[in-house]
Symmetry: C2
Subunit: 328 residues, 2 copies
């Protein structure tokens, strides 16, 4: 099959990759479209050692199912458009048994760890990871199910009250999704953006307040979400927080943070790391049109121009770059 | 009055300090005994700029009350043994109005910030900060009300379930109080101590498991409490945590932490700073004998030997050093 291959920090197009085999509980998914995420760019930069097919945001069609998949699941999935949770869990380790399958100790992660990803004609995932895409959700929009689920993870972790003052630091791809999700709570929301972009215009058009760092009053914010992917974002978020405020870390990147532990103690700050989230609510928000994602598509590339797509996605301020992999 | 004076990183005994004046809502407290805390030692080391009378753990007698204090409060406090919350709040700022008086934006803090402390014959505090000491609680034990309240703050901030696996890193003065408080929940508790001490013996005698760093299995702990006062304690606590575990920071010290933000995101760790806590439950635990504190008294010094008391308290592994200030 045709696909992209990441090795030694370089992404190449390969015309003749082997198709992935499937386990009895897995589906072979024919990829329609896939999105490039900051984590993909960080993998290229060496944030985490991974050689293989990258990509974890996708929409595909469940083309064939393993021998162990029952009739109900066949009915639910076979031949349908699907999106997929990226952590394939063992189901039996301590974390799985404790209800934390995204933290499975033996997990593979689509396009990130020990499982080939979505920037190829086919991928394999356990059927329990797959969700059928409602007809009302376009294929472009469904590519955003994975990052939208990650945005929703914040609301799985902390209660956001309608009267809370919330700041999102960073108006990149993920920041814009997080901002739209948090705005649904009715909270008093400020999004800190460095410059104007189509994403900022989208937020503004939806009545969401976008501002510069200087406009965020220090020590005033109940909940700050860092999604810039650099230590400066942490510093802005930390300075904005009121005593006993909460700081969500949302970006994975190769870098360290220099933290003042005493100030965290004196101000009794809570810092929470936040990663993958729930797909069903993400699909519901897309189906109901409660978040707008299609304006975030900045460019489309065919699979064999994958390296150029990565270059485009790495431009400062770039929004979502899609790889168009297969036809419907 | 006689008292200690901290300036330029040096503690001196001064025989003729002025007595503190009191505001209409304050009490003049004649100090009986006071304890030296790690924060006092950190102030000497320059963790925070403070010139004045240090000391914030004390028991005293409410000798006189301001003109604005009503009859009920006089009845409750005058002539009685009292302990006191150390943050004097304005009552009107945004934090006070939001129910966070320990984070008052205009607060003074006994012996730490803009308010002379307890290592002197007299101190002044608002009467609303004072709690009468039950007769069943000795003066020695009541000195521990303040750090015991700080230990209880953890349970104000997080739910600890009886089946949780908990690790306390550090068996110093505060670590021993925290360990005893957490043990009351029934949790599976391990206290990481570097060496044997009277405090470790106290924990062991109460059936609390004390161990070395090597004995804490990595990625296995639900809640880890860092109270060593150094970055190594953070590293031990962090390594012990399971995915989605909680790390409580309890120490204030002059130093920085080098944190891997991506690992916090990937493991969805929660880090919470924790400071001053509730006095009433602390006094209840002391009255009921549910925690043992008197074995932690390592040495006693009269006030005029304050500098020697600080030296003793700064010895590695030292437990509580008391200053005996006034007679009953």
């Amino acid at each position: 099959m045709r696909g992209l291959w990441l090795a030694g920090g370089e992404v190449r197009f390969v015309p003749d990759l082997p198709e992935p085999g499937i386990e009895p509980d897995e589906a072979l998914v024919r990829v329609l479209a896939a999105g490039i995420c900051n984590t993909d760019l960080e993998l290229v930069r060496g944030y985490y050692p991974y050689d293989g097919v990258p990509g974890h945001e996708f929409v595909g069609v469940a083309d064939s199912l393993g021998a162990g998949v029952g009739a109900d699941e066949r009915e639910r999935l076979l031949g349908r458009r699907v999106v997929g949770e990226i952590n394939a869990a063992c189901g039996s380790c301590r974390e799985c048994r404790s209800g934390r399958p995204t933290h499975c100790l033996r997990r593979t992660v689509l396009g990130i760890s020990a499982r080939h990803g979505a920037f190829a004609e086919y991928l394999a995932l356990p059927v329990r990871n797959l969700h059928a895409v409602p007809d009302a959700v376009s294929t472009d929009a469904a590519v955003f199910a994975e990052p939208l689920a990650a945005a929703l993870e914040i609301l799985e972790q902390v209660d956001v009250a309608p009267s809370d003052r919330v700041a999102v630091i960073g108006a990149g791809k993920l920041g814009i999704l997080i901002s739209q999700v948090l705005a649904l709570t009715g909270c008093e929301l400020s999004v800190v953006a460095r410059s104007r972009s189509a994403g900022v215009d989208l937020l503004t058009s939806r009545g969401i307040h976008v501002c510069s760092t200087d406009e965020v009053k220090g020590r005033s914010i109940d909940l700050a979400v860092e999604c810039t992917g650099n230590p400066e974002g942490y510093r802005i978020a930390r300075a904005a927080l009121r005593p006993r405020g909460t700081l969500i870390l949302k970006s994975t990147y190769a870098g360290r943070l220099d933290v003042d532990p005493s100030a965290i103690v004196v101000d009794e700050i809570t810092v929470i790391g936040s990663r993958c989230g729930p797909f069903r609510p993400a699909l519901r928000l897309l189906e109901r049109g409660q978040v707008s994602v299609e304006p975030l598509v900045e460019a489309r590339f065919p699979l064999d121009q994958g390296p150029a797509a990565f270059e485009r996605a790495a431009r400062p301020g770039a929004l979502k770059v899609l790889l168009e992999v297969g036809g419907p």
